[in-house]
């Protein structure tokens, strides 16, 4: 249990730190590594998804709140009539999808190599 918690924490930290040094899409790397270490498909996908959704969504919402929704509102209008909070959700879900898919990919890699 503790090991799992630590792993999830490490994933969150990696999600945040890695793109500080590499391009934005480098979040795929920790997702895949986490997937490789996960026990099954469901865990690989859902945890990689949820954690990145949070790692993207929470700071987005914090920035949004500090900015009083000013920019997210404009960006939402620009992207076809979304509100500021919806922009936060889109950000979170998009991050989640990337995390989830690469989590699955990592697990699937383990399945091959485990042979």
């Amino acid at each position: 249990m503790l090991k799992n918690m630590l792993l999830i924490l490490a994933l969150a930290v990696a999600y945040w730190l890695v793109p500080m040094f590499l391009p934005w899409w480098s979040v795929a790397i920790p997702a895949a590594i986490f997937g490789f270490l996960a026990k099954n498909n469901l865990r690989a996908f859902s945890i990689a998804f949820l954690v990145l959704a949070l790692v993207w969504g929470v700071p987005a919402q914090m920035q949004n709140a500090a900015n009083a929704g000013l920019l997210a509102g404009k960006m939402g209008t620009l992207l076809g009539g979304l509100g500021a909070i919806q922009m936060v959700l889109v950000t979170a879900v998009l991050g989640g999808l990337i995390g989830g898919i690469f989590g699955l990919l990592g697990y699937s890699c383990k399945q091959i190599t485990a042979r």
């Binding site: 945040w16 793109p19 500080m20 934005w24 899409w25 979040v27 795929a28 993207w56 700071p59 987005a60 920035q63 949004n64 500090a66 900015n67 009083a68 000013l70 920019l71 997210a72 404009k74 960006m75 209008t77 620009l78 992207l79 889109v90 950000t91 998009l94 991050g95 999808l97 990337i98 898919i101 690469f102 699955l104 990919l105 699937s108 890699c109 399945q111 091959i112 042979r115």
Partner: protein, 813 residues
């Protein structure tokens, strides 16, 4: 099976990342969503924290000494430097901090480098900029400017400051628009600053009607042409009052203009023209006319209104100057502003300094042309245009004749001709000790009239009416710039490019250009009208205002015991002299007995209207509809040509003069009917049409129709402001018209105990749409409110509080 799953997931994952990392994926207008949405480097990083603007200490290479920058509550920077170079360095840094993308985009546009970042849709604009030879002209101007130690030092320091900002910028800190459009800032150069200046010249002194005038002359014939297009409005109230006499011997052209002017129909669409019928106001009233005896100077330059704004408010202090005003992002110095002793401002001079010459080719190779009985070869310059999404750049050869670049060349036409452009602003500047950049720095330093006059000698184009007021009581106005000596009607039409005698014959000596100092009437003023009355011995043509200038002169002449508030009222005045003069004429000619009850009601309503374009009122809409359609019915014989060739528009003052003096003039006849109509019949027809239109759909308020707007530079609606509640129209002092209008309103009182100033512009300090300071002055501007400007005496001036302090220290490279 497991292997297949792995492959499929890998494909899915990689394609997802690829799509999210691609600009305009599958041809959609969407930006790359991954770089845009991720909270580390995406748009979230541009969402500025409300209220936070921390102090900062920076060490920057290139500074000579320490610089302190204080920001007031509107985030206006007040720069305190220990030498001039550091002041311009800091200006470059702070301007880039606020407006980098704007600086980049505006200079890319003028230099024909837009397609490089936005793709093929900008190619046409890029091609035209290159064919006009703008980059070549900028390179040549820079070569000359660099020879002036004064200009070079200023430009160098400014460029170093901009680059000090760019070089430490991380992708997460790029201005939002870079992220949306998917490109990166590149180092700033002196050429970029000169290109910015070219953009101002294009905006302000590239207006010309040569093609349209030539076509119109051909269509109408000489007599009708001269009848409809007289060059001088007898009602004009020129900038320089008639009390000024011309006590000099004018330079006479040595060569006689060839007898025959070209006349033909040119199918070319003229260059995109700067917005017509809009300009700027400035005036200065002497102490004899003000309540407290202090001279007051006012200026509101009218330009295209954009976000970020064309202006950036700034105060700059060095041991040699302490000046406050607005600057242009891309150029060093304060352009319109004041110091402790003087204030200055500008309006545009409408003189035509861009002429077209028809080139006659020797043969269909189009490489040599006839000239003075012999032939000449064109010179060519290769222009390389990078286009986003294309591997190979586009290369074109621009031909240069002795007149200038060959902008138009119709290769499909069997007629062997091309059109070459001679534009004053593309000429290599004359050698002198300082140029335009130094002009403004000298104004920042100037203490009195003589220093103001001296500063202006470094300035060529775009020619401006420089208004002036000083604490010692002087007021003055100089029409200032470089003006070609022209013979009557020279440069009004396309000219024969095979004759050197069609060239400009020198330039008007600076001391013979119209100017006035301390006139008896106690004020000087300009609003883009004619520079001088008809006794002025030099010929000039161009586009001149006919209403604002007269209204402002009339108003100022009638005002006594003037206060700052009175003049703010004049800047914001929505009264149109054109409407004031047109309405009684229209109503007088309208046959009342032929109106039905509903039409009579409209007549009654209009007859009570005061000519104020109040944004809440419907009368301006009804009147303007009636006015515009009457104009179209009157000049239908010309307007019908618009689709096929360029034609001129009869000026509205001449339209009203025809209505007033010759209502039976043949031009009033509407071509579509067999009957010959006169003015009264046309007015009845158009009035009935307008009434019918507003019966079906009641007239909207003026605000909805005028749609005063401040658009984002890339025309992104979410970053723009539109339908602003502001009263005014083109011919009113408050000349708001759609996305044009007063781009900065400034009032400066040269008080004995210290200068006092007020200002506002429709924008904000920051260029970042994610900042509360992006458009914080727009509503204030629309309401006609002003900010009291905090002119700090020194960095320790505590009369008002500042919100943040940045200090720049120097480090060795």
């Amino acid at each position: 099976m497991r292997f297949l799953k792995f492959i499929l997931l890998a494909l899915l994952g990689v394609s997802l990342l690829w799509v999210l990392n691609t600009h305009n994926p599958f041809g959609s207008p969407l930006p790359a969503m991954g770089p845009l949405l991720n909270p580390v480097s995406g748009f979230w990083a541009n969402a500025e924290k409300k209220g936070a603007f921390p102090d900062l200490k920076l060490s920057l290479p290139g500074l000579k000494s320490t610089v302190t920058v204080k920001f007031d509550e509107r985030r206006v920077p007040h720069i305190f430097a220990q030498n001039n170079a550091d002041a311009f360095f800091a200006q470059g840094y702070i301007t880039a901090y606020n407006r980098l993308w704007q600086m980049d985009m505006s200079t890319r546009k003028v230099g024909g480098r837009l397609a490089e970042v936005v793709g093929e849709r900008a190619l046409e604009s890029d091609l035209l900029q290159r064919r006009k030879g703008i980059v070549k002209a900028a390179e040549e101007a820079l070569k000359v400017w660099e020879k002036s130690a004064e200009d070079l030092a200023i430009l160098n320091a400014y460029v170093a400051g901009v680059n000090a900002y760019i070089s430490q910028l991380k992708p997460a800190q790029y201005p939002l628009e870079y992220k949306l459009l998917g490109f990166k800032p590149e180092p700033w150069t002196m050429l970029r600053s000169v290109l910015f200046f070219k953009a101002m010249q294009e905006d302000l002194c590239a207006r010309n009607e040569d093609l349209a005038a030539t076509n119109t002359l051909k269509i109408l014939g000489e007599e009708r042409f001269q009848d409809l297009f007289p060059e001088y409005n007898p009602k004009q109230s020129p900038i320089i009052p008639s009390e000024v006499k011309w006590n000099f011997a004018p330079v006479k052209p040595q060569i006689k203009l060839p007898e025959s002017l070209l006349s033909g129909l040119f199918p070319e669409k003229n260059l995109p023209q700067p917005y017509e019928g809009i300009g700027s106001n400035n005036w200065a009233v002497s102490g004899q006319k003000t309540l407290n005896g202090n001279p007051i100077l006012c200026n509101d330059p009218h330009l295209g209104l954009t976000l970020p704004s064309i202006w950036f408010e700034i105060q700059m202090q060095s041991p040699e100057f302490n000046s406050y005003g607005v600057s242009l992002p891309g150029l060093p110095g304060v352009i319109i502003g004041f110091n402790e002793n003087i204030a200055w401002g500008q309006t545009n001079v409408g003189q035509d300094v861009l002429d077209w010459y028809a080139i006659k080719w020797v043969d269909n190779k189009r490489q040599s042309y006839h000239f003075d009985g012999g032939t000449r070869e064109v010179e060519t310059r290769e222009e390389v245009i990078k286009v986003l999404g294309k591997k190979e750049p586009l290369k074109i050869q621009v031909k240069y004749t002795n007149w200038g670049p060959l902008v138009f060349e119709d290769s499909t036409s069997s007629a062997y001709y091309g059109l070459a452009m001679h534009w004053l602003a593309s000429d290599r500047p004359d050698k002198r000790s300082f140029y335009e950049a130094s002009t403004f720095i000298r104004l920042m330093k100037a203490k009195n009239y003589n220093e103001y006059a001296e500063a202006l000698t470094g300035y060529d184009a775009p020619a401006q009416n420089f208004v002036f007021a000083a604490r010692d009581g002087d007021i003055a106005l100089k029409v200032n710039g470089k003006f070609p000596i022209k013979q009557k009607e020279q440069g009004r039409f396309v000219q024969d490019g095979s004759l050197s005698s069609n060239a400009w014959q020198g330039f008007i000596p600076r001391d013979q250009i119209p100017q006035v100092r301390n006139p008896q009437r106690g004020f000087v003023a300009s609003a883009n009208q004619n520079s001088a009355d008809q006794t002025y011995p030099y010929y000039y043509n161009g586009g001149f205002d006919d209403y604002r200038g007269r209204f402002i002169n009339r108003s100022l002449a009638a005002m006594e015991k003037i206060t700052v508030k009175d003049l703010m009222g004049l800047q914001n005045n929505p009264h149109s002299l054109q409407a004031e003069e047109a309405l009684p004429l229209f109503l007088k000619l309208l046959p009342l007995d032929q109106l039905n009850a509903e039409e009579k009601a409209v007549y009654q309503k209009l007859s009570k209207w005061d000519g104020n374009y109040n944004y809440q009122k419907t009368e301006p809409v009804v009147f303007q509809t009636w006015f515009d359609s009457t104009y179209i019915y009157t000049f239908d014989e010309l307007i019908q040509w618009r689709d096929s060739v360029e034609v001129m528009n009869v000026e509205s003052w001449r339209f009203l003069e025809l209505l007033e003096k010759t209502p039976e003039h043949e031009v009033f006849d509407w071509q579509k009917t067999k009957k010959i109509e006169n003015a009264a019949e046309v007015l009845l027809m158009t009035f009935r049409k307008a009434c019918a239109q507003f019966k079906k759909a009641p007239a909207k308020a003026w605000r909805e129709v005028n749609n005063a707007s401040v658009n984002h530079l890339a025309r992104i609606p979410a970053f723009s402001r539109s339908n602003l509640p502001i009263s005014g129209y083109a011919q009113a002092p408050n000349a708001t018209r759609n996305n044009h209008g007063p781009s900065w309103r400034m009032v400066v009182e040269m008080a004995k105990d210290g200068v006092k100033a007020w200002g506002v512009y429709p924008g904000g300090t920051s260029g970042n749409p994610g900042s509360p300071f992006y458009d914080h002055m727009v509503d204030q501007w629309a309401k006609g409110e002003y900010n009291e400007l905090f002119f700090m005496r020194n960095a320790e001036d505590k009369r008002k509080s500042t919100v943040s302090e940045w200090s720049f220290g120097s480090i060795s490279k």
